[in-house]
Amino acid sequence: VASVEPVARTERKVYSVSAFNRGVARYIGKLPAVWIEGEVTELRRNPAWANVFLTLKDPRTGATLKVTIARRTFDRLELDLEEGESVHVAGRAEMYELKGELGLRATTVERIGEGAHLVALEQLKRRLAEEGLFAATRKRSLPRVPQAVGVLTGADAAARGDLLTTIGRRFPATKIVVCETRVQGRGAAEAICAGLRRLGTHAEVDVVVIARGGGSFEDLLPFSSELVVRAVAACPVPVVSAVGHEQDTPLCDLAADARAATPTAAAALVVPDLEELRLTLETCRRRLALSVRTLLDRDATKVARTGDRLRAAPRLLLERRRAALDRTGAHLQALSPLATLGRGYAIVRADSEALREASAVAVGTPLDIELASGSLGARVEEVTP
């Protein structure tokens, strides 16, 4: 048994690398056996080797763990395991002394059943919902007429074809940017995220459609991965999710700004119908012409009325003046001495001055007497002051 004793060099306690590794390895070896869940990556099996090696990856954080399992044990499990699959591994922590590497010595591996996936999905869904990632308030509205539609799709000819054909039929003047990527199996989640990033940051793309036809529960799992759900929520432009069939609800559907049951339905969401749009525009134009005419007509009527009033104004003024004049005339009439003369009075003038006192004249002064009708010339014969 190799020792973990320090080497005697000086008074300082110094260990050799091997001794240190051995010591840590022994310490770690005392840890209890555990179950660990992760995604299988870097699976290496060689019939000539005693062990099978694989790396378990935490799909959330990307943390990894090296796993070693005896080849015979592994083969007996008959798992036909592929990279990208989620598994439960039972084992103990182990330190590979020569390299000082920590790993897991596995005793068994189990593929995660649909049940376990569903539970994990439910938990993830609840956690993300609590975080507000699916909130209605986060949903953005889609552009009415997109500058360019980003399409994220797998090598799925049907979904892609349906989407492109429908977009082309509804609104031929569309630009489409297609990003074809891995959508299932190993690395699919990362690939989908990378595709979303590329489309989301494309200069022209202002809406992204994720188009993925139907598939098995496991095939659609990447679209429920936390990475993808977060990438959809964080996409700088609105995202329409058209993943799987009607009955599937991958979590990316909940984070997307709109959900379409089929690629065809997605096309109808992202581009308007050209004919409808033309009709809307024509209606708009008719309303434009009609409203301006109504407005001008109304104004013309107002102008015409004002004109009438303008023309009527002098006549009215004249009439008013005449009426006023008539009144003044009547008044004048009342004041006129002629009316008094009419009652038998006379005006006596001497030197064109109306006489008020007898003493103002002398005997013999010629007088002018005005009557209501005609006048008399006379001479003073007697003065009585």
Partner: protein, 66 residues
């Protein structure tokens, strides 16, 4: 007009119509608004006449192998 999106143009056209329909615009403004509306309408129609589907394929990357 040319560098604005179809959507912006269409929205402005609808605004113009709505203003004219409200009817509280002086005549001079109304005529200017009408001219603007016509211009917007023509710009919108022109956009709709543009070409056919353009498809750009992004080159595959190895980011999927992460």
């Amino acid at each position: 007009v040319s560098e604005r999106s179809f959507e912006e143009l269409q929205r402005e056209l609808e605004d113009v119509v709505a203003r004219l329909e409200r009817g509280d615009v002086p005549v001079d403004d109304a005529i200017a608004l009408f001219r603007r509306g016509e211009e917007l309408y023509r710009a919108c129609v022109e956009r709709l006449q543009a070409a056919e589907l353009r498809i750009e394929e992004l080159a595959p990357t190895d980011s999927g192998k992460a």
